[in-house]
């Protein structure tokens, strides 16, 4: 697994900043399982646990990019398995629209991603993290939506 981290390294030394919104019941629990199983993945993504992927406001995504995030991940329960019955269906629709909006603004597709990780999928969580970081490293830093600060 240490090898995985090494291959993700970029010659330029660019370390992307990523915010990962994890739903409390599936994806956050899945990340806990990755921890308990000691599965190694790059440390770029900082997790924010939200109650449900359905509570993910598009504003959070825009705000994260505005504050300089190079990538944003939203991860929830598998469709049909939402702890709150149908929250992730709302999330799926909303996120599709946010993706369209971001495309329209001219942001690279890969910067905003949704994944379904259940509480049993520690290995999948580690893989999602690893893939996302690798992809963002390929694209480079995000400047399109980043606010200019003095």
């Amino acid at each position: 697994m240490a090898k995985v981290e090494q291959t993700a390294k970029d010659e330029t030394g660019f370390e992307p900043k990523i915010v990962a919104f994890l739903c409390k019941w599936c994806s956050s629990a899945g990340s806990d399982l990755a921890g308990v199983s000691r599965l190694q993945y790059p440390s770029n993504a900082v997790p924010i646990t939200i109650m449900c992927s359905g509570s993910m406001s598009p504003m959070f995504v825009l705000s994260a990019f505005n504050k300089g995030a190079d990538g944003v991940l939203v991860s929830g329960c598998h469709p049909g398995d939402c702890h709150y019955l149908k929250g992730n269906f709302y999330a799926r629709r909303k996120i599709y629209l946010v993706q369209k909006l971001l495309q329209f603004i001219g942001l690279e597709n890969d910067r905003f991603r949704m994944s379904w990780v259940s509480a049993a999928e520690g290995a999948k969580f580690a893989q999602v993290m690893h893939d996302f970081v690798t992809d963002i490293k390929k694209i480079g830093p995000q400047t399109r939506l980043k606010a200019k600060r003095p």
Binding site: A2, E5, E15, K17, V19, W25, C26, A29, S31, D32, A34, G35, V36, R38, L39, Q40, Y41, P42, S43, V46, P47, I48, T49, I50, M51, C52, G54, S55, M56, S57, P58, M59, F60, S63, A64, K67, G68, A69, G80, D81, C82, H83, Y84, L85, K86, G87, Y90, A91, K94, S118, A119, A120, E121, A126, R149
Partner: protein
């Protein structure tokens, strides 16, 4: 916004401290805006750790607490209790920053992991600074329990609950309770007759005034929350009135349709109208709709003609039963691993290759051969029988990675029983290891080797094929290092246990998690083994993991006692982290009303703005994500808090 936050960073021995510079985290957090106290400690959850925390909260008059430690699923409650009871601060002023599972355990680069831990902790500080003091909402409980699955786990749990005075609704998919245990002939290691020990419990179920038994029924829908669930149960039409059926067998004698008998695992047949076995509970015949010629007196109607009691009624219709319950126990059990997956062992192709349950039926006095071990193909007594352990288990490449746990013991039992039935026969067992942990288990296996001269061969079988009426078993004995070829009369496979289809269905209906193998996931592998992550839903038996009868009974009783503990209170505390409307911003557009999965929001008089029912609200926040004017927020997970957390995560 609060002004006096305290941060407590835990080393967790070396669990966190090895990869995160906890001292630096504590120091840097001490310099954060609004943080007046910051300290690291080796074990925050220990008694001295908790006292330090309580003392610091009081002495520094803290109004917000962040504990940077393990996952909130582990110690959120611990530290919130310390905050409230020790520190005198409302427990909802305490938040957890998970720097163990989400940081220290998954990274190895210390500077990078420390950076991440800093961000996680700072985000938690930002969150807690907006937290409000909240009081849990009291909700009355329904003192009635739904038990799903009528095997030994469901039976034991139902009886325990019913004897404690709770009303129980026991739902079973099949026409009788008893599950797989009632199919067994004898049980290890004492060789008690399975039916003799289970039948009395089944009868007790049917007679108990507190138990309502619904067979041929399935739970189709669950709504509500801990203490106040609502279940929708579909019950098939049975076409025979159990009250009037005299169990005389006249109907089955005239029934022209013959189908495979599930109770004997396909070794015998039954009619379309049947009773699964003589001791079935409920004690009644039942009509299998899928096999019957047509439920229409014009087509057949022979059974109704001969039924003197007039118990058969073709006009019965399926029922939908709605029940209100306070807690649920899921005891949906296991199935054997599909034989189609083990083509190399010839299962399904050769009549004399059996699975464990079929062999149980052959040994059973109530079985197809009246308790004589005979080959299904020619009804001759088998003189050489090969038992293959780990058929599908412990094989991560092609089958199940896990150990099915009970096969070592039941194979030893099968070999012993076989020798009791056929004293001049020879039993061979292919095994990988013998796992016989349990009271009297190892002695039992030793006895099968010494007294019953069962030949144990350490190795796997590569192939089973038929040659002139014999089953040829090709295997290896890794102790002598030689290939082994046995001409057997019968082969018995100890197939892996896998979660039943009912388990998969129940998990879907109840929205409870399953592990990577499909077994129901417990809330904590060690400390909460009978609870699901969802409050009020408990687990029992082989649906949670492969286990034997004593363990299943233990877990069922444990689940029952957890339910009793839950429902003994007059009211349950509902989380106060519910949605709240800012009336000044609400326009009454109804977006949230439509989005709420629980129907917890409506428009209220006089201003016709959104109004939240605190008891129904589960705090998922779906409403806040649809509100165009940011007029609705979940308490303590408000949008302003998430925005602040995003800033902290990105270091701005």
């Amino acid at each position: 916004m609060t002004k006096r936050t305290g941060v407590f960073v835990c080393h967790c021995g070396n669990n966190i401290a090895a990869t995160v510079d906890v001292v630096r985290v504590a120091e840097e957090l001490g310099r954060e805006e609004g943080v007046v106290y910051s300290k690291d400690y080796v074990y925050m959850c220990s008694d001295p750790g908790q006292s330090t925390m309580a003392k610091a909260i009081k002495e520094n008059k803290l109004d917000g607490v962040v504990v940077s430690c393990c996952s909130p699923t582990l110690h959120e409650k611990t530290f919130r209790d310390v905050t409230e009871e020790g520190g005198g601060l409302n427990s909802f002023r305490c938040e957890i920053a998970n720097i163990r599972e989400q940081c220290a355990w998954v990274h190895s680069d210390k500077p990078k992991a420390t950076e991440k831990a800093l961000k996680i902790t700072k985000a938690a500080v930002k969150r807690v600074q907006h937290n409000q003091s909240l009081t849990p909402i009291g909700v009355p409980v329904t003192r009635k329990v739904l038990v799903i699955g009528g095997g030994i786990a469901g039976i034991q749990a139902s009886l325990d609950l019913a004897n404690a005075g709770f009303e129980v609704i026991l739902v079973e998919k099949n026409p009788t309770v008893g599950g797989h245990m009632i199919q067994l002939s004898e049980t290890f290691p004492t060789l008690d007759c399975s039916q003799c020990i289970l039948s009395p419990k089944m009868v007790e179920i049917s007679k108990h005034k507190n138990i309502k038994l619904l067979t041929q029924a399935e739970v189709k829908e669950i709504s509500g929350f801990v203490g106040n669930f609502k279940a929708k149960i579909h019950q098939k039409a049975v076409y025979v009135d159990p009250e009037t059926c005299k169990i005389c067998d006249d109907c089955a004698k005239v029934c022209p349709t013959v189908v495979s008998n599930e109770y004997d695992v396909g070794l015998t047949s039954r009619r379309a109208i049947f009773i699964p076995f003589a001791q079935a509970i409920p004690a009644t015949y039942t009509l299998d709709e899928s096999a019957c010629l047509g439920l229409n007196p014009v087509v057949c109607g022979k059974c109704a003609e001969v039924c003197e009691a007039g118990a058969i009624n073709y006009d019965m219709r399926p029922k939908v039963i709605t029940e209100e319950i306070g807690a649920i126990i899921v005891a949906t059990g296991f199935d054997l691993y599909g034989k189609e997956n083990l083509g190399e062992y010839g299962m399904g192709r050769y009549a004399d290759v059996l699975d464990g349950l079929q062999f149980e039926r052959l040994c059973s006095a109530s079985g197809p051969t009246g308790g004589h071990v005979l080959r299904p193909s020619d009804h001759k007594e088998p003189k050489n029988v090969v038992f293959i352990q780990c058929a599908g288990s412990r094989d991560p490449e092609t089958h199940c990675a896990y150990c099915s746990k009970i096969c070592c013991m039941y194979t030893a039992k099968h070999a012993t029983l076989y020798k009791h039935h056929v004293p001049d026969g020879q039993a061979y067992v292919f095994y990988i290891d013998i796992r016989s942990g349990g009271k009297g288990y190892e002695e039992f296996v030793q006895r099968s080797m010494e007294r019953d001269e069962v030949m144990y061969l350490r190795g796997r079988v590569s192939k089973v094929y038929e040659k002139s009426g014999k089953m040829i078993v090709l295997g290896v004995d890794t102790i002598s290092g030689k290939n082994v070829e046995i001409e057997a009369d019968m082969v018995v496979l100890a197939l892996a246990m896998q979660p039943s289809q009912g388990t998969a269905d129940a998990a879907k209906t109840l929205k409870i998690g399953r592990d990577k193998d499909g077994f129901l996931a417990e809330a904590h592998p060690k400390l909460r083994p009978v609870e699901s992550v969802t409050g009020g839903i408990f687990l029992a038996g082989a649906a949670q993991a492969p286990k034997d009868i004593p363990e299943t009974v233990c877990q069922a009783s444990a689940a029952a006692s957890k339910v009793i503990q839950l429902l003994s209170k007059d009211e349950l505390m509902h989380s106060p982290t519910v949605a709240k409307v800012r009336l000044s911003h609400c326009t009454g557009c109804e977006m949230c009303v439509q989005a709420c999965p629980y129907g917890a929001i409506d428009l209220g008089a006089p201003s016709n703005k959104a109004r939240v029912n605190d008891v129904l609200c589960e705090g998922c926040g779906t409403c806040q994500a649809v509100c165009l004017r940011a007029a609705i927020d979940v308490k303590n997970v408000a949008q302003v808090q998430i925005h602040d957390m995003i800033n902290a995560c990105l270091g701005v």
